[in-house]
Structures are given as C-alpha cells and as structure tokens.
C-alpha cells in the first residue's frame, strides 16, 4: 500500500457534478472515468504527497464517519493500481544513479505516464543506458538521430563512416562546425570526439566504408542491441539489404533511417527479425509495386551536387526514427512493417503497410 499518496503531475483531473471524476493522462490522452462518493473526489485535493496514508484515512474517518476510512483506502488502492497516485519520491526510489535522475527526470515522468509504474519506467531507462548501438553513416540524418539518442540516454556507440567533412555539411549536421571543414576531418572521428566531450559516453569511431567486403562481424559485436543504417552510399536500399541479411540471421534489430530520401522527411523503418518484414521483403515488395513505373535514364549523369534537402527535414526523419527506437525499448511498438514519408506541401504523413513475404529467402525461416 502506498505511503504518501501523490497525484501524479502528468494527469489532469476533471469533475462533473459531484460524483463523477475523469483522469486524463496527458502523454497518451488515455482517460479513466469513475463514479465515486463526493467526499472521495474532495479528497483528491489532499493527495500532494505530504501526508501519509494513516493520517489521511484518519482525517476521512473524522470528517465522514468510520465507513469512510475503508472507502478511502479502497479508492487509493484503485488509484495506485491505475498509476494515478504514486509516492512523491518515486524518482529516488527507482535506484537509478544520481546523474541519470538529474538529467532524465522529465523523460522518466514521460515513461511513467506511458507505463504507469516507476519500476517499469526505471527499467526502460536502465535498458537504454546499457544498450550497445552500431550506427552506419554519420551524415545529416545519422548525426541528428545520434544527437536525439544521446538525449534519450543511450551511452554505448560504434560509428562507421568513411566520409570527410566538407563545407556543405555545415548546413545539415548535428556536430560539425567551421573548424571541422578546414581540417577535412573524418566524420566518424569528429562526431565521436564531440560526443565524448559533450556527453562523456563510450564511442568507437571506424573510418571505414560499408561495402560487400566489410567484415561485418568485426564491426557488429555479438552483444549489439541495435544496428542503425543511415548510410546512403551507394544507396540506402543496397546498404540496408547488406546489413539486414547480417542482422536478421543473428536476431539483432535494424533501424533504417537514412538515405537521400530521408533528408526529405522519411519515417524510419524498424526491422525486428522474425517479426517485421526484412530489407529483402521490402526490396521485393517495391520491385513489384514499381514495376510499371520506370523513369527514363536521366540526361544529367553527374547528379551528386544537385540533391536537395533541409536540415529541418533531416531532424524530422531522425525524430521519427528515434521514436521508433524508443518505442521498441518501451515494448510499446506496434512492429508493423511499413514505410512512410512526410509531404512538405501540407505536412500530411503518407504511410502504408508492407507485409513479410512468406517465401523470403532471408527471414522466412525465422
């Protein structure tokens, strides 16, 4: 039973008449409606986490008769069960280290809103801080995704990219500034240095390209929890298939975040081996879906410096990917396969489902 009941910050309370109360969960818009005795509704104003249960129940009994004590205790047990009241010092009770508590209190409040229990919220934060991530591609989308993952509290990264910083990267990257351009620094090394300076977390940089010759087992250790693909050279479909075949057979989830299209607001795609379609399922699906849509060979052969993109759209794409990753760690993801993009014209999201292929040569055996 709760000791000092505290009506949680993330809940709005609405009252209709004198016996109907609505608890609205701000983060999820979930609503719980109950009909209770008017004195119980009045008692909500007392749940500030200052008085303990015994003295509150005592007060109820004095004001509303002895039956009120049991009714109040039962009501509080219900509110505790629904995650509406908690202990005021719930953060300290999670046993997370002090630095995590100081930095992540707002996020833990959010997790609490979603998960309803301080233990579960702390468990997710712990999983995040222990997770080992390998990120291929530290360009526009990759770097903004890393920046958001650092905010969420991830602490172990391997970064793989063989590109060097050039002037145009300033218009889109999360970590570089003018000094990196003059040095033509390697993107992976420069990003790792900045991350260590700013966050003091563990980052390994590998200035290597991702090709069919890459010995992936030397880059993706067996204890890796998640692989991120934000590598768009030669193109995202190619690198995704390469990584997906490696990850799927080893049961490592893969988040596909990058590619030239992601500068333009693609929604991230999470591949959970045996659950969602794999990169081969996607490739086959699109080959079929687009078989009647065949552009002519473009008259301009060198199109490298002609790509368009906005920093804000890279940030959006990174944000949607970061949330996919977070939902996976929360265990709240729907894990449906699908692809989507943001239309810049009206900000509508165009998303559609893609199913696993029963005959997929990579993932159908899982």
């Amino acid at each position: 039973m709760i000791v000092r009941p505290f009506l949680r910050d993330g809940i709005d309370v609405y009252v209709r008449g004198d016996d109907e109360v609505h608890f609205v969960f701000l983060a999820t818009r979930k609503r719980i409606t109950v009909k209770v005795k008017p004195f119980l509704i009045q008692s909500l104003a007392w749940l500030e986490g200052k008085e303990d249960m015994d003295s509150l129940a005592e007060g109820m009994a004095r004001a509303h008769g002895t039956d009120a004590r049991e009714q109040f205790i039962a009501f509080l047990a219900y509110l505790e069960d629904k995650g509406i009241v908690i202990e005021p010092d719930w953060l300290a009770r999670t046993c997370l280290d002090e630095s995590t508590l100081a930095v992540q209190q707002r996020q833990l409040s959010f997790f609490l809103d979603l998960l309803g229990s301080p233990e579960k919220a702390a468990e997710v934060q712990r999983k995040i801080s222990q997770a080992r991530l390998v990120c291929f591609g530290v360009g526009a989308v990759g770097s903004w995704l890393l920046r958001q993952l650092l905010g969420l509290g991830f602490k172990h990264f391997v970064l793989v990219d063989h590109d060097q910083v050039e002037a145009a990267d300033i218009a889109r990257h999360a970590f570089f500034d003018a000094s990196d351009v003059s040095k033509a620094a390697f993107k992976a090394t420069a990003t790792a240095e900045r991350i260590r300076e700013q966050f003091g977390v563990e980052v390994v940089a590998k200035n290597e390209p991702l090709t069919t010759d890459t010995a992936l087992e030397t880059v993706i250790a067996p204890n890796t929890d998640l692989v991120i693909n934000a590598a768009d050279k030669p193109y995202i479909g190619y690198t995704s298939v390469l990584l997906s075949r490696f990850c799927v057979t080893r049961h490592i989830p893969l988040l596909v975040a990058g590619g030239f299209d992601a500068h333009l607001g693609s929604l991230g795609e999470l591949i959970v081996p045996g659950v969602t379609p794999c990169a081969d399922c996607y490739a086959d699906y699109f080959q079929e879906a687009l078989k009647d849509w065949q552009p002519i060979e473009h008259p301009v052969t060198d199109r490298q410096n002609a790509a368009g993109g906005l920093c804000s759209l890279s940030v959006f794409a990174a944000g949607s990917s970061a949330m996919k990753i977070l939902r996976y760690f929360l265990g709240e993801g729907d894990f449906d396969g699908g692809r989507g993009e943001l239309f810049f014209n009206n900000y509508q999201l165009d998303a559609f489902k893609v199913e696993r292929r029963p005959d997929c040569r990579v993932c159908s055996v899982l």
């Binding site: 910050d9 993330g10 709005d12 309370v13 609405y14 009252v15 701000l26 983060a27 818009r29 909500l44 104003a45 930095v103 707002r106 996020q107 833990l108 959010f110 997790f111 809103d113 920046r147 958001q148 905010g151 969420l152 509290g153 145009a168 300033i170 218009a171 889109r172 500034d177 003018a178 333009l264 929604l267 849509w293 552009p295 002519i296 473009h298 008259p299 199109r303 410096n305 002609a306 368009g308 993109g309 906005l310 920093c311 804000s312 759209l313 940030v315 990174a318 944000g319 949607s320 970061a322 949330m323 977070l326 709240e332 239309f343 810049f344 014209n345 900000y347 509508q348 999201l349 998303a351």
Partner: protein
Amino acid sequence: MITPKSVLRLRPSVAMVPMSDEKWQFFQGNTRRDRVFKLQPELANAVKMLNGNCSLASAARHSKADPLRLVELAKVLHAGCLLEDANVAERIAKLPWRRVINFLGDYIPSYEVENAFLRLSEKTILILGVGGVGSWVATQLCQSGFERFILVDDDEIELSNLNRSLYSKPDVGRGKIDALAERMRALSPKICVRGEKERLVDASRLAELIPELQGSGIVVNCADAPSVDATSSIVDKVCKSTATPYVIAGGYNLHLSLIGMTVLPGKTACYHCGRLTLEEQQGDDLVDMRKLHRPWRNIGNLAPLAAITASFAANEVIRLAISDDRIPPAMINRRGEFNFLTGEMHFVNLPPRRECGCTPC
C-alpha cells in the same frame, strides 16, 4: 528569358516517366509532387536530351522537334520547376547551401531561386525561449541559411534540461542564450546573434524589441513560462500592432507535440481565433466539467518530440521568410499534433473568427 539559345537541363531531382498515350509524368523526387504532360514524341525526345550541355535549338534539331514549340514547352516546364538553367545550376552546385537551394528549387524556378534563398539571410528572427524547442529551432534556422537572430531567455542551463534541448554537460550553469549563441556563431562567421537575458513578462518589453527587426522580422514563440498560452497572448498583441508574422512552436501544457499555428496578423487566424475554436471543440466532451487546479507540475518530455515540434517551426519560418505564394506557410489557420504512440499526424482547422475582429472576415 528562355530563347532557342538557352541551355537548360532536366532538374536532377526530377524523374521523367513514360505513361500511356504519349503522356509523361514529371515526378519531383524532393517533394513527391508530380505533373503529367502529353507530349509529341519529337518534343519528348528533345526534353530527354536536356542535360545542360546543349541549347534548346540544338536539342530540337537533333530530335526533329519544332524549336519554337520546344521553347514554349521549356518555358512551362521551367516555370513548373522541372527544368533549370544550366549556368544557375552550376553556380548552385558550388555553394555550401546547395541542398537548401535545390530543395527550394522544387517551388521557385531556377532564375529566381538564388534571390529567394538570399531573403532568408535578410530576415531577423526573434526567438522567445531557447529551451527544449527553442534551442532546436535556432540551430536548424542557422543551418538553413538565416544569419540574424535575437534570442530572449533568462534561464540558466540545468542538468534536467539536457534530455531534450541541444545543450550538453559542459554547458550546465551557463546562460542558455550564451551557450546557444556561441554554438550558432561556430557554424558560420556570418551569423549575427544578439541575446537578451530576460523573461518575457509583458507586451511593452517585446514592443521595444520589435523595431530592431526593421520591418523584416519573424517572431517564433517557444516560451512556455508561465504557459505557452500566456506568452502567445503577449506575442499576438505586439505582432498585431506591428504586422509582424509569428509562429507558435511548442506547447507542453496540454499536449506534448504541438505544431503551429503560423499567423500573418490581419490576414490569417490569430492565436485568439485559434483559442476560441479550440475551446469550443474541447467543450464537446469535457463540457460543464471543473478542472482541478494543480500548480507546479512537472510534465514529461523527450528529445525527439522537442526536435519534431521544432522542425515544423523551422519549416514555417523558412516559408514565411521566402514570402512567395508558391511556397506558402502550411500552418495558416490550423494546428497540428504529432501522436507519439502511433506516429500519426492530426490537424485541427482554426479559421479566422469574426468575434475576434482581427481579420476582415
């Protein structure tokens, strides 16, 4: 001016796709928009040759197309941002800002797009509140080509800010405007930032700052203390009296990932018009309910939600600054909300309200 001597090319982000009956789809890969034209085979062949190395006259000659008809077609395709001038494209390819300009090139034809981009550097952006959302907005605007900023915030960076803002551990204890201004200046020596270490409490102080925008500014409200409603009300009042466009970015108090609205005072629905409509709609099922007053709450938030809200605010500021009907703000007369759990976007229409009296509607 497009003449037979003009050297144009199919824009590299445009795919030309054959359909049935001599119809051709021109698909703009950057913005996923497409247009369909019916073209004589000779004209289609001429367009297919436009690689930036040959004049329209020579493409017409090689494909046996009528040169005058090709010029007329090229004018239409250029105005529709499907073809671009080869010299302009060559200049843009050398610029650090080429990605932004090429993106805008989906909306603004090549002869105009360089000037359109320059308008970003001519505007002064006044950002109120540089915390979770504001720090992301300011940075993204620097990285879009804006150069002049005024930041208003009196807060110092605390550990509890780091989970969602763009600050990091070495910044703790510094003023938010100081840390952010330093970061912005490091991106480019051209960036000019002024910080005002104060909290927006009333309209008179904001009214003093507006003249510094010299009639060419945009206000972005990311200030949530005491509430987004309170600060938006102040912004609205001052911006109306000075006809300054404003963008409301963020709002933690009611929902977590709000987008918009964007207001052109006197022309579009203002913050108060929006509030009137939202209050009516909220009344649907919470009507005649009393809300328990709960001060000093600490509402949860996360990096991706702050970043996403900020990304839309940045989009809107870019659109406002370009000031061109071909790429208008998208959050006029409406507000959006990004649902974290489903990854879906919802919009609410917030039309101008007669009883508000702010527009001649």
